[in-house]
Symmetry: C2
Subunit: 115 residues, 2 copies
């Protein structure tokens, strides 16, 4: 079925270049945002992130960290130590999300006034 | 298992009152954000929203509209007409998301410079 994108020319949701879609790939899932929030404070080891976000499952955390590394939002550094040490930190691209995180927090605070 | 929330006292992810969590309930899924984006322009009928977001499935759109109504983000108005007419518009609470949408768009535009 051909998608009817001409009826709403102002709508760019179909385009890979849509900025909202691009943004949501990174901050769309709550876990990704929470991981970015934690790494915005400092470089963390895997176990630190796990403790900081206690309600995420191990499987989900590993998956989300992998996605964020693939999208060049966070950087993973493995040290050749015994026991193994793995650290994560935000890349320059990932740091772009920090101001947005503040706006999201502000929005959430406004929402709380409605309850 | 008792959750270890004391180790990171600055972390409020566990609390129902966490503003980031509150915010993500509304703007966390891309569809919800796209629906809010469309209704930010004007009141729309169901069919208008469907056409404006051509890649959402019927089932998902109905589900997301229902969630947004339940969260008091959008308002549904049914007119006793034949054929039936149903319109959706943002509530005052829903309008709070519009400035955030601009910030998300700006963030997405910055991301595009990295590709």
């Amino acid at each position: 079925m051909k998608k009817n994108i001409n009826q709403f020319p102002q709508n760019t949701l179909d385009e890979a270049s849509c900025p909202v879609r691009k943004a949501m790939e990174i901050v769309g899932g709550k876990w990704r945002l929470f991981i970015i929030q934690q790494l915005g404070k400092k470089t963390l080891r895997y176990g630190d992130i796990k403790r900081a976000i206690p309600d995420i499952s191990e499987k989900m955390l590993i998956q989300e960290l992998k996605c964020l590394v693939e999208m060049d939002v966070i950087e993973k550094k493995s040290f050749g130590e015994i026991p193994p040490r793995v650290e994560y930190k935000l890349t320059d691209k990932g740091k772009l999300a920090l101001p947005l995180l503040k706006h999201i927090t502000k929005f959430g605070q406004k929402l709380q006034m409605y309850q």
